[in-house]
């Protein structure tokens, strides 16, 4: 059953420097109890996307729809939205150091959430519930730590407390916005395990926002790769990892230091993410793409079905069959590039190759060319 159905969501902000096009026509769905991983660099619009769903982007121009449990989240009044936040959909933010109020006890902050949605719960009961929740997320001696202030908690413990708070009212969906980015690597794994275990126990749907494909590999069912405010690729996790179609997804995979690829050199993605105020023409990824073709400079591709599973969508002009990391797929891509790259695209390709040594650019020979 689809719990959340987002259609054609567009979010922009008017700023002194111009219109920031943070999200441009993104659609996706999340089923009850499933996990969607949203992957992208900073500035790809992934955080704005999810905060818009909860009405946490004041001053934004928003269009599209987001059906959650028979209602459009984008049409709710502030008061109706208040009952969704924390109760039906809760959020775990990136930095647990700054996301808890420094002047209030951790337990109090959890009780406050409980009592904000159900006034009939007594302070005492809410406090007892806070202790239960803290011990459920693995905080030792929770009955004492509940009276600690956030600064008395370690980073990992604070994120556990945030998770406890997110779970407090058994929401139908949790949005985790880079929940492990600010933590030590060892703590990251613990927190991910915890999230996954609790999600399975409670049957909550999870949207995991991250820039780290490794995190997605651990816990996601479906993956949405975002680039410059748009969906670049959308597919079940296996497809994204084994048969990526969009060159951006492929670039992300190749830039992960992984043991399986030991001996290979890391391949960074050339260039920088574009400014959301002044987006490039055509496909927004073309200035960084090793497969750039002429039509990429002028026409922006929409998501379309690629690969063989029927659930794999990619917004790229490369042939639908050219999915994956196999030599066969690479040949298909090179063939397409040879046919469709004219002078204009060749110039862009030269620039991409010149930008970062070691970047693979089809059709460009030299030190940095594809090996």
């Amino acid at each position: 059953m689809t719990l959340l159905e987002v259609r054609d969501l567009t979010v922009s902000f008017n700023t002194a420097d111009g219109v920031v096009q943070a999200v441009r026509g993104v659609s996706f769905g999340v089923d009850a109890g499933r996990t969607l991983g949203i992957v992208g660099e900073s500035g790809s619009g992934k955080t704005v996307l999810t905060q818009t769903l909860l009405g946490l982007t004041p001053g934004a121009d928003i269009s599209g729809s987001a059906r959650f449990d028979e209602r459009d989240l984008l049409q709710l009044t502030e008061e109706e939205m208040r009952h969704i936040r924390g109760e039906r959909i809760s959020v775990i933010f990136q930095d647990p150091l700054t996301s808890l109020h420094p002047l209030y006890k951790v337990g109090w902050q959890i009780s406050e959430l409980i009592r904000a949605h159900d006034k009939s719960v007594s302070k005492k009961d809410a406090a007892e519930r806070a202790v239960e929740l803290l011990s459920r997320v693995g905080i030792p001696r929770a009955e004492r730590r509940v009276n600690d202030y956030p600064h008395q908690f370690s980073g990992g413990m604070r994120q556990r407390a945030m998770i406890a708070m997110a779970l407090a009212l058994s929401p139908q969906m949790i949005i985790a916005d880079e929940p492990t980015t600010a933590l030590d690597a060892t703590v990251q794994a613990q927190i991910l395990d915890l999230l996954l275990r609790l999600q399975r126990e409670s049957g909550t749907a999870l949207i995991m926002i991250t820039h780290d494909l490794g995190v997605v590999a651990d816990i996601a069912d479906e993956v949405l790769v975002m680039y410059a405010g748009r969906a670049a690729e959308k597919a079940p996790k296996r497809e994204v990892f084994y048969t990526p179609h969009h060159p951006y997804t492929k670039g992300l995979l190749e830039s992960i230091p992984s043991s399986s690829a030991a001996g290979d050199r890391l391949r960074p993605i050339a260039g920088q993410p574009p400014s959301l105020i002044n987006l490039p023409s055509g496909c927004k990824f073309h200035p960084r793409c090793g497969y750039v073709m002429d039509r990429c400079l002028s026409e922006e591709p929409d998501l379309r079905q690629v690969g063989e599973s029927g659930f794999h969508n990619s917004a790229c002009w490369l042939p639908a069959g050219a999915a994956g990391l196999s030599e066969e797929a690479e040949e298909l891509r090179e063939e397409a590039v040879h046919e469709e790259r004219g002078e204009a695209a060749a110039e862009v390709a030269e620039a991409v190759a010149a930008d970062v040594p070691g970047v693979a650019v089809v059709g460009i020979e030299g030190e940095g060319a594809a090996e």
Binding site: E78, V91, T98, S99, L100, H101, P102
Partner: protein
């Protein structure tokens, strides 16, 4: 325990501070020839003999260290000396001058806090609204208008016209609370408004800035994501955190003002620590100057101790040491 140790330590250092300040004032006084003091007392036409006589009477002919020792000895026994001119004990003068000054400061503080924090909160929660713009302009006016101008204006446009029409509740000069709260307030209301005008502007700006910063914090986003009402987010989470720096600023300001609100006291003829100490400075009245310096320094020291205690109370991350 920690608090007791903290208090003892801070009070001891406070005493050292007050001693250093009074000693500084004492020796600064003797940077000028003592004859100028005597000439003031004796009048311009006084003969050298008369002046020498005056100097001897005041004990100013003795070596500085002897005078200083004498001063310290008196100080330890709680005697701040006697006015050169009236022979009135400085202690008595202080007792007379404290009530007007405290009245002005306490009333002014209440008004400026209510106005400053209130306007600051509304401005910060509605940035760039017409309310915010108008209050920003008024803040600039309040900040740039000299206190005596505001005071004289109030006398001109409020006190005088009312008085002319027989409404005498609002008055100048000082009347103690013992004459009735109504009478006291009638005398204090204009000084309060005058003092509050400037400080309300400062506190509006401070509150607005602090609250705007706080409302941009991650934990405010968390509070909203918890589904709290906007009111609760603003007050319970925003204002609570934004007010800590305001409280510490308040301590400093009140401590300083209690040492004398010179201009307000003078404009409304209230008497008070400020007015008297300025007169004492004009007339080189050393015992009075030093007495008032000691009181002013003590207020600042006490205010700072209270600020630090309050800070620890307001912010659990601050430890009293």
């Amino acid at each position: 325990m920690a608090i007791a140790g903290f208090l003892i330590r801070r009070i001891l250092t406070g005493i050292v501070v007050v001693w250093l300040v009074s000693t500084g004032a004492f020796f600064l006084f003797f940077a000028r020839p003592v004859a100028t003091v005597a000439r003031q007392l004796a009048g311009h036409a006084a003969t050298p003999q008369v002046i020498a006589e005056v100097i001897r009477n005041l004990g100013l002919d003795q070596p500085i260290m002897v005078q200083y020792w004498h001063f310290l000895d008196n100080l330890v026994h709680g005697n701040l000396g006697y006015s050169y001119f009236t022979q009135e004990p400085v202690n008595t003068m202080l007792k007379q001058d404290l009530p007007p000054t405290i009245s002005v400061v306490v009333g002014g503080v209440i008004i400026w806090l209510v106005v400053g924090i209130g306007v600051g909160i509304i401005s910060a929660t509605r940035p760039r609204s017409w309310f915010d713009r108008v209050s920003n302009i008024l803040v600039l006016v309040g900040l740039s208008m000299p206190v005596f101008v505001i005071g004289e204006l109030l006398i001109l446009v409020v006190f005088l016209p009312l008085n002319r029409h027989g409404i005498t509740w609002i008055n100048t000069g000082y009347a103690g609370i013992s004459q009735g709260i109504g009478v006291w307030m009638g005398h204090m209301i204009l000084p309060w408004i005058t003092l509050a005008a400037v400080y309300a502007a400062v506190y509006t700006r401070l509150t607005r800035g602090q609250l705007l910063d706080t409302l941009g914090e991650d934990y405010i986003r968390t509070a909203r994501a918890k589904g709290l009402s906007e009111r609760r987010v603003t007050f319970r989470h925003g204002v609570r955190a934004a007010l800590t720096p305001v409280v510490s600023q308040l301590g400093v300001d009140v401590g300083q003002l209690l040492g004398g609100v010179v201009v307000v006291e003078s404009v409304f003829g209230l008497g008070g620590l400020g007015q008297t100490s300025v007169q004492a400075i004009y007339t080189d009245n050393l015992p009075v100057i030093i007495g008032f310096v000691i009181v002013a320094a003590a207020f600042v020291v006490i205010a700072n101790i209270i600020v630090d205690l309050t800070y620890a109370l307001l912010d659990p991350r601050v430890r009293i040491t």
